[in-house]
Subunit: 293 residues, 2 copies
């Protein structure tokens, strides 16, 4: 690699007069003890945002979601201004920030030698996702094992927080590959669509874009929210509601949307080819790439 | 602290002639890059075993479970002999191994600079759990959000693997504290008892010890298995089966069992005091402490 940069945040949740809150270090260097709870328990949270021409896209939506995840895990409240500055330091240190990403994290810290929470910002040039955006991806539907009301009935399961406990999100991608697909749409036990393991699901039904309510225990999608905010400019309405599994097959088009990969059309579901809307996909992605906030 | 030791395992899944497989390093030192998937995704597995008088208790059951978890996550097959040797090095480096623990891990490794899997063994003296063993702990019942057949219907959810994605296991302990309890028994959406977040649940119903089947997506309990293996010596029978929620209230006694804390009696469920069997608890723990394999 060699293009990545790393900024460690020593004081992510409160200002420490006299001590710098963050510092640039070699990206591949050993930074964490094995007793940090990010390692031992996946007990931390993260965000990944795209960077275009040195500007973090949807920057404030991501910071808002970080604060929301922190509240769900009862982590110390992150100092968002410290994160803004650490992110700016990381982006500024990239040799090429024309098409890059930043991934930033908040961990509860070392469980054996408690010194408070820590954070970091990792940045690098983005992988090329152009093929997926133009050709689409085949997905499989996999049960998330929960009912649609899980976030209300069992909030301790942390559905809707973007945590470091992502082993399941990796496992379902392996299951998808075994089934000849490249990505996953999670379903509930009572017949609703949720999200992808690293993306939001958006359907087009006629002239309306539809996505699942965040109250169903999915992540509020920063990219989906941006798309819904400019939907009217594309001549489309938008709805955030419960979405039945059958609606995916009935939809005129469907996408997985995420910060770095952007809007990727779904071109097959469980092995059944699905038509996709190439023109609208290009419109959406052109608009997403052009964001400068 | 100052009593902890750490052995890094550079080659946890295959022998590397000429390269030592493991090495002792300072326990609190930074060892992991922020891009190790143990950090970024909780995409690794672990075991925690007790050490008495320098001997790892239930050592082979733990190694067998590590291999089982690795298979569920499709991790590289761990070289158990390398783990045995690294564990022996860690235990040998403890200043006092009369009452200690070893926690060992296998990670898929660095996702940005792939160099294969890594592992480590962390060891330290055990905290004192005598009060919990003699006085018991209050628990609350919390839904795990899944039905009893989850491991069969959705194996990609990794229920039954001991992964580093343990944010939920920490979250439920916070929920328990809010409810005035100290630990948790997970339940299914269809009315069955599962396990604690870091322990197995065992009931005594008359002269029979009862625990939930591992096929229900719970961990095979190493301590519970040892107790069931010597149950006959205590004049008890044992059963591994589906266990209804109502059976906890009806049980003559109940315990959470785990490697380091051993058998801890449940003294209240959802705020309702529960009688416990102090004599049998002491018999079980005396027998568990005496294990020398």
């Amino acid at each position: 690699m060699g293009t990545a940069v790393l900024v460690m945040i020593d004081h992510p949740s409160a200002s420490h007069p006299g001590a710098p809150a963050h510092r640039l270090v070699p990206a591949g260097s050993a930074q964490l003890p094995v007793t940090d709870v990010a390692v031992t328990r996946g007990d931390g949270i993260f965000e990944t945002a795209a960077v275009r021409d040195g500007v973090v896209q949807s920057a404030e939506r991501h910071l808002t979601r970080l604060a929301h995840s922190a509240a769900m895990l009862e982590l110390p409240v992150p100092d968002l201004q410290v994160y803004r500055e650490a992110i700016a330091e990381a982006v500024g240190a990239l040799a090429d920030s024309s098409d890059a990403f930043v991934k930033y994290t908040l961990s509860r810290g070392d469980e054996e030698n408690p010194k408070g929470p820590i954070g970091w910002v990792y940045a690098d040039v983005s992988p090329d996702h152009e093929d997926e955006r133009t050709e689409g991806l085949p997905v499989v539907l996999l049960s998330r094992g929960y009912a649609l009301d899980i976030a209300q009935t069992a909030p301790w399961l942390l559905q809707g927080a973007k945590t470091l406990s992502y082993a399941v999100n990796k496992s379902v991608l392996r299951e998808a590959k075994k089934r000849g697909a490249a990505d996953v749409v999670f379903t509930t036990t009572d017949g609703y669509l949720l999200e992808g393991p690293t993306s939001s699901l958006v359907l087009r039904l006629g002239d309306t874009l539809v996505t699942t309510r965040p109250e169903s225990g999915i992540l509020a999608g920063t990219t989906q929210e941006d798309v819904f905010a400019f939907a009217a400019e594309l001549g489309l309405r938008s709805e955030v509601r419960d979405v039945r599994v059958e609606e995916l097959a009935a939809a005129d088009a469907a996408w997985l949307m995420s910060s770095v990969r952007l809007a990727v059309p779904i071109n097959a579901v469980d092995g059944v080819p699905k038509a996709f809307d190439a023109a609208l996909t290009e419109q959406i992605n052109t608009r997403l790439i052009a964001r400068r906030a």
